[in-house]
Symmetry: C2
Subunit: 329 residues, 2 copies
DNA sequence: ATTATATTTGTAAACGATTTCATGAAAATT
DNA sequence: AATTTTCATGAAATCGTTTACAAATATAAT
């Protein structure tokens, strides 16, 4: 594979000149430009990003850290990240940790080692100490999941208020036995959404019952199925359930249907995220809509600004309660 | 940020020695090793991938080209790609073309420019000429979508046989009015699956009717909804439908439910892929199961072998018809 | 004690671009 | 015509590694 020197030789100019026509930084006379372009063409030369990256001390790569792909929530966010990044000359290095600590370390080292110019993390189970250390030297933005104790900029929604709104919706429909499928409460949004859930119940003087709170190990469909199975085995069954993720809610919905119960009459279901599938279930799912695409887009914007040395501020985005058939006939 | 020279100076050795302890290639005496490790620690040194990559003329990055994330089919494949890649010291550069030709060109150039050591393409609407040219000089593997006329190695299933089997399943159930929701037939698998559809009908002397064949522009849920809407407007409605993607099938299923028709009694539905959702619909979806994860895993294996200079052969993987409630009570 | 061999280490040249600085040629000004 | 200014180009340094080769040191064999 030809390099810039060979092109220069063939065109009878210096490599500096070739570089100049490549990046058209400084003026180059049209005669030499043509000579160079001809040489490039003939040698089928393509400049090496490896050389360029080293010289420029940048990779123009953004590391995107997620726990798993299997939740469409993340893929929507990634869409937003990618659109902004590409439009601004960056590309995405997608990294899935799968809750694997050593993988996580590998990925964090990639930004430490300058393979990526910065990182957007949506990964909850991160090695916090390492993350803080990294954030001191490298641009990092947190998306959707963040840490109150750190000053790493983030983009998220007001989870507490959103959960409150969802649960209040159920209460307004007359429900009093409202179950809650939460995720691991080591994660901030799980704690925040629980607060919202409890605040709504408290406000209407509905006692909080531990048996109606399920802390799921994962966000897969089957976790939702399992949660609902547990609720339906109880002596005193709930009449509604609020899940912190559409995937969980859909699993719960499935299990409810399976048992021959009617949704929403026997069991109302509310999810969280508004993934595209939530509109395809039968019945369709009432859910808290997060602006996934925009969150990703904004996070990318913040990251690239940060790489360029501009200061960035955390952003709280709007959410919306989308009412569908799983709560209302 | 400290570089290898500074570490060398601090440890009182040469940069070559530092490099050696970093990569433990050659033996280094334990006393100097300790000195070096101490210096690394003190300077919080992290080797730059940029320098390393240039020197080694490799990026250890694999470009994965897809049309869109929004189909879970691809994310499952990517899971497989990522697992194999990471286990073998490579990382994934995820690139979504969104049917945008200029984006596609940008991405292909990334491998031409050595930003990636190779590419796995699952992108159907590729600039074929450019792709062939690229494949002459760079390792490329096609996954799920391939081209008969090129000798670029691929991993796929026998689409014709799989479609045949799916349609035959419907015929065996007594259906004769079987509609077909296909994708753009410029894509090989769409042509292959259509062949399978037609072969099954022919074999049972069922005439092929154009009005029951719908060529969708996309693979989103709403495309499936639209297709079914069209079928249900016909004078002579089908009693079964076979869609080339679960997303389309799920959309079709949704629309059928919406109209108050019973699945499978009034309308049987068969999908393709076996994405995880397909088991969460109501009723659950009969579908052709593709080994997505394994396909991705294998493709990554082939690509990395190819990067290492080993010859690779195309692979045809097994599929399976998963019978669920959307065709059988 | 001397030589032969094995083990560590250092020197310096890559890898392939970009860019500062200097220089020569051309154009503009006097 | 002489001087200044602008423009186009090249030489060489630089980014941060790795590694072939040479040199120095330690160990083993005589």
């Amino acid at each position: 594979m030809a390099n810039i020197q060979e092109v220069a030789r063939k065109a009878g100019v210096s490599s500096a000149t070739v570089s100049r026509v490549l990046n058209n930084t400084t003026a180059v006379s049209s005669t030499t430009r043509i000579k160079v372009e001809k040489a490039i063409e003939e040698l089928k030369y393509a400049p090496s990003m490896l050389g360029r990256n080293l010289r420029n001390s940048e990779s123009r790569l953004l590391l995107v850290l997620i726990h798993t792909f299997s939740n469409p929530y993340y893929t929507e966010i990634i869409n937003g990240i990618e659109d902004y990044s590409i439009a601004n000359g960056y590309n995405i290095l997608l990294c899935e940790t799968d809750s694997n600590a050593s993988r996580e370390t590998t990925f964090l080292n990639m930004v430490k080692n300058k393979l990526a110019d910065g990182m957007i993390s949506m990964n909850p189970t991160v090695d916090l100490e390492k993350l803080t250390g990294l954030a001191e030297k490298h641009p990092i933005i947190l998306c959707s999941d963040y840490y109150e104790t750190m000053e790493i900029p983030y983009v998220a929604i007001d989870n507490e208020a959103a959960a409150y709104k969802a649960v209040k919706h159920l209460i307004k429909l007359g429900h009093e036995k409202i179950a809650f499928i939460n995720f691991d409460e080591r994660i901030l949004y799980a704690r925040q959404r629980r607060k919202g859930y409890e605040r709504a119940l408290n406000e209407f003087n509905i006692p909080i019952q531990d048996q109606w709170i399920y802390n799921s190990q994962g966000l897969e469909f089957h976790n939702g199925v399992q949660a609902m199975r547990k609720f339906l085995q109880l002596e005193e069954k709930p009449t509604a359930v609020f899940a912190v993720s559409d995937t969980l809610a859909i699993g719960a919905l499935k299990e409810t249907n399976e048992r021959g119960l009617n949704v929403p009459d026997d069991m109302a279901v509310v999810g969280f995220d508004n993934i595209s599938f939530s509109n395809m279930t039968n019945p369709t799912l009432t859910t808290v809509s997060q602006p996934m695409y925009n969150m990703g887009y904004k996070a990318a914007e913040m990251l690239i600004d940060s790489i360029k040395g501009q200061p960035v501020e955390s952003v709280i985005m709007d959410y919306e309660l989308v009412m569908r058939e799983s709560t209302i006939n």
